[in-house]
């Protein structure tokens, strides 16, 4: 498995993942393009000759730094110790089981010596199987190959190999469990054909559960992870779709209309509003039938139709009814009026709900006008704003003077 970088001469580094002790021979062999076995034999012979090999090996171990990807790499020594962990856990559990049995016996809760061997065997076997299975489930992720493009192709996937369950150990564990079951049945005389079949079936089912449960668990866990991953992918796709439909579309339009700054500004403004609505969708209360949302919609409509920015500030909120709807319609008319008679000026709309009282102010910084001089046939303000408010039991006032902008005040109480 000498796969690391064949093309460029690598510096002397210990190859921990292919080594036996410290990876010295594997590292040297890689650099010298030799079979590590030759070097190992050499070192062993040198070690026999007055211990030179041992000293040489130790010096090399100290002087040669480990290869950069030493995190995942483990020498044969380390790997076998790692495997031995399974054995240690298994024997520990066996001892615990024995202790428990002794305790039970001392307490007088004893069913008979016949259960000792089956229980001990089953514990050992079960522990081996579970240990292996758990090891595989928490397998360390493979080294981040994507993050280092150059190293990606030549890097063996060591992370997986280390923790993959060893079939031998698993088979041994299974054999132990099955053996325990057989011993149990035999001791109870159940293997004789005319004895109780239920006991045999029960014991077989128990043994199978013990052996297969870890895999079922892992399967279930894998499914949960997959589901989470699927949800993430879906969310990403949704986000991408939204950006395509809105932002990218608008950006394309803006590039086409680059010659018309007014339209570009209007497009940008519209997209901004849409994006904000979308971003706030999760947090804002999503009842469409409220004063604030109705005003927002009305303002948005005017902005879109005329390409004029309108700043809306709403304090408090209340449900829509006929009168509030009339108020919104009047406010919309007032904004339209401002767009018409105060071109290019900033327009702000302020709405405040104070208990039962609703106030809306529409303000522009246009030229203003003399109220007395407005001809009586001008329906805009008089009819759609003042008249509408009065019909619904509210009132409207217009504050303006030439040169000072205009403010329309709408009150519903």
């Amino acid at each position: 498995m000498v796969t690391v970088s064949q093309t460029q001469p690598a510096p002397f580094r210990r190859d921990r993942s292919n080594g036996v002790l410290g990876g010295v021979c594997a590292g040297l062999a890689q650099r010298l393009r030799l079979d590590p076995l030759i070097l190992r034999i050499g070192f062993v012979i040198a070690a026999g000759a007055g211990g030179t090999g041992v000293i040489l090996y130790a010096v090399c171990w100290v002087l040669m730094p480990a290869a950069a990807d030493g995190r995942a790499g483990r020498t044969l020594l380390a790997r076998s110790i790692g495997r031995r962990e399974s054995w240690m856990v298994a024997s520990g559990l066996v001892l615990l089981m024995l202790a428990l049995l002794l305790l039970l016996r001392a307490l007088g809760l004893w069913v008979g010596d016949a259960v000792v061997w089956p229980l001990v065997l089953a514990t050992g076997g079960g522990a081996l199987i579970w240990r292996q299975s758990q090891g595989a489930a928490v397998v360390e992720p493979p080294p981040r190959e994507a993050a280092r493009p150059g190293a990606a192709a030549t890097r063996p996937r060591r992370g997986l190999r280390v923790a993959r369950p060893s079939p031998g150990i698993v088979a041994l564990g299974a054999a132990l469990v099955v053996g325990a079951a057989l011993v149990f049945l035999w001791l109870n005389g159940a293997l004789v054909p005319d004895r109780d079949v239920t006991l045999a079936v029960l014991v077989v089912v128990t043994a199978l559960t013990l052996i297969l449960a870890p895999w079922w668990l892992r399967l279930a866990r894998g499914l949960t992870e997959e589901r989470a991953e699927r949800i993430r992918t879906q969310e990403r796709a949704e986000l991408a779709a939204h950006l395509h439909d809105s932002v990218l579309q608008t950006l394309a339009l803006m590039q086409k209309r680059a010659a018309d700054p007014r339209e570009v500004a209007a497009l940008a403004r519209r997209q901004e509003r849409e994006l904000r609505t979308w971003l706030n969708a999760g947090s804002r209360r999503a009842d469409d039938a409220s004063l604030a949302s109705a005003l927002e919609a009305a303002v948005a409509e005017v902005e879109d139709a005329h390409g004029v920015p309108v700043e809306l500030v709403a304090v408090g909120d209340r449900a829509l009814d006929e009168r509030v709807e009339a108020l919104v319609a009047a406010a919309r008319e007032a904004v339209l009026n401002a767009v018409k008679f105060a071109p290019g000026s900033a327009i702000s709309v302020y709405a405040e709900v104070l208990g039962d009282r609703v106030e809306v102010f529409v303000r522009d910084r246009g030229p203003g006008f003399d109220v007395a001089a407005v001809p009586p046939d001008r329906r805009g303000l008089r009819e759609s704003v003042l008249g509408r408010m009065e019909r619904h039991g509210g009132r409207a006032a217009i504050h303006t003077r030439p040169g000072e902008g205009t403010e329309v005040e709408l009150v519903l109480s």
């Binding site: 904000r276 971003l279 706030n280 947090s283 804002r284 209360r285 920015p309 700043e311 500030v313 709403a314 304090v315 408090g316 900033a346 702000s348 302020y350 405040e352 102010f361 303000r363 910084r365 403010e407």
Partner: protein
């Protein structure tokens, strides 16, 4: 003020920094800029500007982090938040961290320069939207006022409320002064008082407001 206010720009978008620099050219003295929290702290401590124009949303903690790191070392430096976000929690949190005002990035160059001058002079700068948020946050005090709260800090006076409503309606300070028959200095004093309340009031009212609106858990 005779000299131009000295300003440091903090924003993680280089393009935006360049744009603001160009817009403010000749109106204020931009003495430095920074694109991340670490650089910003270093730059502000080194140059000691009058005003820092501060982006709210940046990696590594954002504008609030800059204020927290700089304020103890350079207490004379004032901060004006400048952000694309008009989400209430962003606005309120940067103000509570210590910013003297909040304006959105769509503001025009001369308006921004004016806001900088105000902040440099020690005043608070409230956009109509911020005024709206504050009114909303301090609304509903009647009847629901908690007994333990500090009434001084947790409620706005009628006058402060009136001033804020005019700001929300789009009036300038001097227009408000004219309409309410008070001096422009008094208007500014009211706004500064509101800012103080916003920063110091115990969290109860504000968090109740945020929860009600679904912005906090």
């Amino acid at each position: 003020m005779t000299a131009l206010p000295r300003v440091v720009l903090v924003d993680d978008h280089g393009l935006f920094r360049a744009g603001v620099r160009a817009e403010l050219d000749g109106l204020v003295d931009v003495v430095g800029d920074a694109g991340n929290v670490g650089d910003a702290i270093e730059c502000i401590v080194a140059t000691e500007p009058d005003v820092v124009l501060l982006d709210v949303q940046m990696p590594d903690g954002g504008g609030a982090e800059v204020i927290r790191a700089v304020a103890p070392r350079r207490p004379a430096v004032r901060f004006l938040a400048l952000s694309v976000s008009d989400a209430p929690d962003d606005v309120i949190s940067i103000i509570r961290a210590g910013a003297r005002g909040y304006v959105t990035k769509t503001i025009s160059g001369p308006e921004l320069a004016d806001a900088v001058r105000r902040v440099a002079g020690g005043d608070a700068v409230f956009s109509p939207r911020l005024a709206g948020f504050v009114l909303d946050a301090f609304a509903g005090g009647e009847g629901a006022a908690p007994a333990v709260a500090d009434p001084e800090l947790d409620q706005l006076t009628a006058r402060e409320r009136e001033v804020l409503r005019h700001i929300a309606r789009g009036y300038l300070y001097k227009e408000i002064a004219l309409r309410l028959g008070i001096s422009a200095k008094t208007v500014e004093a009211h706004v500064s008082a509101v800012l103080r309340k916003l920063q110091l009031s115990n969290r109860h009212e504000l968090s109740r407001w945020a929860v009600q609106r679904g912005w906090l858990e």
